[in-house]
Symmetry: D2
């Protein structure tokens, strides 16, 4: 069950990085929708390795087949589950002795072995970051629904690389601005420094981490659920399931400890149409786990990825201490490619809650015949 995510908009991902392929089964998409190939392709392109000097040289076209859920003649959704399949094209066969193979430090090799008694030695198995291709595709579909049905815009960007911090207006930032530089930071003043830090790490055979920040604009008040279904909890769980994620914040996050309640609280006012709004947004758009109509603001910290080209101490499966040095392709910094992954996970959570809120809304209307004041 740990391969499924969501309640009404629900995905199940499958597959490994080196095998027949990866994919995703998507439940909860309405019938009659044109499949948003363009949006899916665009987000997959942003996630793809081999985009430039900053990312891995592995090249996978990320072409997908819609195995189920579309009426062939019209390319429209049937309302039943959609299945997308991505073939693995660039898998290289390796010969090795499983028992002798070294556990790569800070990868999932040892922990998968501890859990399963064996592991996918021909690749990262389910722990491979390639699994996120399935999430990004499903997230693009969710994003399309959020846009069509509620006018919601979701934008993520690289906000920090190796401690070099950007300054970005969460109300104004666009994907176009984000994509202007390969590092996917819309603050032109730090793009060069960030890029240099990544290239320096690459030259050293090393890696760097950082922060991706994300906003969702246009989420109406009233999405979310009490207790364990809080938006805060589900966004945190969604984002901390991404590879290399190490931290999550909503609103002011860790910085809120430097504020007093009187500074942090967001006063309510009425606009010209008597609609409620907050004059500040320290809450990051969520109060008591439910959206308040303000922009959702969150961040995710990513560690420097584990694959480095320096010798490291480790042990083998058959109990020998060895020195291990990685070979092949790698990303010196995962952040630029993590941007669409973050957008995807946020979209999946919000789309699920949009459907959950529709049920609640429909019921409310039956009983009250009108919307709340």
């Amino acid at each position: 069950m740990s391969n499924s995510f969501g309640t009404l908009f629900r995905i199940t991902t499958f597959g490994e990085s080196h095998g027949g392929g990866l994919g995703v089964v998507i439940d909860g998409c309405p019938a009659g929708m044109a499949f948003p190939h363009q949006r899916v392709a665009a987000q997959l392109a942003r996630r793809r390795p081999g985009q430039g000097k900053l990312t891995s040289a592995r090249r996978e076209p990320d072409a997908y087949e819609v195995v189920s859920g579309l009426e062939p003649e019209t390319d429209r959704t049937l309302g039943t589950s959609l299945t997308l399949l991505f073939r693995n094209k660039d898998a290289r066969s390796r010969s090795y002795n499983e028992l002798q193979q070294a556990y790569r430090p800070s990868h999932a090799d040892y922990t998968y072995d501890a859990r399963y008694g064996l592991r996918a030695v021909s690749g990262g198995g389910r722990a491979s970051a390639r699994e996120t291709v399935a999430r990004v595709a499903a997230g693009a579909l969710a994003e399309q629904l959020l846009w069509e049905q509620a006018g919601i815009e979701i934008v993520a960007w690289v906000d920090d690389v190796a401690g070099i911090a950007a300054s970005v207006d969460p109300e104004a930032v666009t994907r176009e601005a984000v994509d202007r530089a390969p590092v996917r930071c819309p603050d032109e003043k730090v793009v060069q420094a960030m890029t240099s830090a990544i290239e320096a790490a690459r030259r050293d055979g090393d890696t760097v981490g950082g922060i991706v920040r994300c906003v969702a604009r246009g989420v109406p008040a009233g999405w979310g659920a009490p207790v364990f279904g809080k938006l805060t909890a589900e966004l945190a769980g969604a984002l901390m399931s991404l590879p290399a994620s190490r931290g999550f914040e909503i609103g002011e996050g860790y910085d809120s400890r430097h504020m007093r309640g009187s500074q942090h609280n967001d006063p309510f006012r009425l606009d010209a149409n008597k609609n409620v709004y907050t004059t500040k947004n320290h809450s990051g758009g969520i109060q008591g786990g439910i959206s308040n109509g303000a922009t959702l603001r969150m961040s995710v910290a990513f560690k420097p990825v584990a694959t480095i080209f320096k010798p490291q101490d480790t042990v083998t499966r058959d109990g020998r201490e060895v020195t291990y040095t990685a070979k092949g392709r790698h990303d010196p910094c995962v952040l630029p490619r993590a941007v669409p992954m973050v957008e995807a996970m946020v979209s999946l959570v919000l789309c699920d809650h949009m459907l959950r809120a529709q049920t609640a809304r429909q019921q409310w209307l039956r009983h009250y015949g009108d919307t709340p004041a």
Copy 2:
């Protein structure tokens, strides 16, 4: 379904702060276990309001009734679901005009109204922090199982108040050390400063936030699940469901951006018994979402709580802009009472994964007849 948490060790909480009471249904506790009244009472006492000057004056004895799941004559668990019921003793009836009532800034009043079209005006409803009494009790049971069956110790402490940071050894800290000062910080050097910061906030009718840090020692390698069931994801979701939580970190968290991969990676070595261990623990005990045998290290940021005794701008349900000033009881700082809440949520996640790992283990043994190298 947002009231339930966990897969094999699964809780469903119920109730509001002002009504018949609160409680929890607990599934997955083995049969024949002596109910750990002492441990439950101890953790409830640490969560309880009215422990001293630092916390709310509200007094609830937090006595619970075990409504189901125990054999009366022996007080032993039946293996079927346990139900604990806490009565609300200190609820005060209020007379008010619902439509005129002001939305308290940065509380869940407005968002619940937006979701449900009405709200529990006689208290915080399901958004009340009193709901955590049910989690703390269930968490104590989980903690007991983790201790009995795997020797696991879970210790949380206040690591930062209003920016005043402690320095604590995660391998050595004990609950006794944590409880030495009412602020629940085991670093004696900062206890006075933290306490003063809280008391200053109280004098000002204001509030402060901070950080609770938590460790789980003794978790064996191999707990956790791939993709969405990663320990990282489930711990994040669990902890970010706590009231006033604003951020989550595992291992180095946001600070990992200041490290390179070569610094952050944890080398593997073999001990005298040929068991695998890491010589550092920047990973916080989790790699690829699965435990690696090292101590689990995480933190949660809490904002300054929303109830302050200063006038604030807000609006009423019937569309008027007003000034609101809170009355009654409140906590100037939620951190000391959050310590057992954090321990409870971590215990619930780990106990669930202990059971999930037992299933996997059992199957592994059938096929291999032995444990992994």
Copy 3:
């Protein structure tokens, strides 16, 4: 998790027959609804033991407390989870030697012992039929929603006792007609024979079984879900979770084997308003797991209950073969009391699918702007 049922309208029952009490947590009830105390009380009264000579002499008033989910001043639902608690009033303490106690034949004593290593010797534990009190109360709430929001009527009746079969018009039968005789069979021609069969069994210290039939009138076309969420599957699972249930049928059920496809198929026609209907209803209102607008027709077979007052061969927990003779109170026939239980389970399934259909409907309207032809 086996204590929960449903997806959007979801209940979790708790408690044993001999202990603090039983209850149910109900999720998915809309906010602002007046709690239907009258309907709940009416169905509980029909389930209650001690209604007459035909049922058990045990007397439980079945008074419940609404522990959570209601605004006290208005008695209206908050939209968050409702909790109902039933106290056990008539529990009798027993002294016994657990190890020596005999396994009652065809009860759950031995199987619970095999699963848990112990069992609730002071009563039936979770296997007690008293657990259904929680389902009947929750079902009455579901029934109220189905009536208010969709005009659906659910009526069950005793259709067979000990092989004595009734003949009842599924389109016309009412609860009033059902309740005219204590045996809850609306066919006056067989009431006397059924009653005599039950009384004869009682005189002999024995028991009889039979069939409860149920209809749901007014279910619109389009409720249900593909594959494992078929109405057929969920109704079967719901009804076969009732104590003593042994069989389930939809539509013609087992008799459909005596028909050819050309007889069994239900032709479609259009009424004066161009609405689709079927000229027959052998399908029992469900095609492909989804409702077709016709009356839902189903039945449940109940075995003769296991508690009899004759000596029976059995064994004890400590491994001795003994003769066991039941003492105390019992029902010679569970059928009359099973009628509200069947109605409750059908209501829970349909209410859940009403909410699931509302979500689908809402989405459909967004895309098509109109209802299907």
Copy 4:
């Protein structure tokens, strides 16, 4: 979520009959297991159309690809989710006017349209019986685990066709005996009559129904769960999710109404090794929803399938009354092919409960250090 089934052994099926293909994601299979290609192929062959005169002429080789979950070099399971993909080979493109197309009587055409506002006009969509290919493959895997780990044998057979009833010994029947005749009935005395009934229906362009009976031998006492997780409930839900199923029985089923409790109850005795057994098995191996060690006995009623070659009254999507006559391929009787489908669903339920019981068992052993008496 209606595409998923099971808790610890959990499948998610996907795909339609006419499109890219169908498949299944399987969670809960242990690591290190050799993939049972032979058993899977054998069960798929028994489900396959085109086996002879009794079944449909459609020919699909039912070759599958294991897309994920196997280590390529060893063909052993990784412990993470397995994905099987079946391509649709025999799909025929059709040109039609969707709005004019007639709703086939007693198919899912109209109900899917009512639910989704459109339907998979190029085939049965998710309602197609071809979806069961995914279940049969997953069921064969479950069956393999049940056999390897617990020595359990599952055998189903055609017990009734068009009212012609077989007489079969549930303790002795084998798959070999079942497969001796194409009609899959092991009672030689009725094979000819059953076959003639099916062929007569075919000649008439009509169809017949019947009963499949199934046993599971070797299930130990103690599998199953209380309340909604009863084996009875989960088996009923599983089997009533099969296309054309109309009824379910456990043990004596509907016939139990002809017995008194004193006849129906199963006495307990001890064998030479002091193990508990029942001297009869009217309970069908389940008491209180949990297995008692006796053979599980159940049946499923199947209606005559809806595709007939006679003219039928129906309506079109655009609101005209028409006469519809089916063309193409069809099964005059689904029963022989339903045999492996029934075995698959029973295997899926039992395998899930085997894993759930392992968790409970493991815990029990921790506390008691021994098995129950």
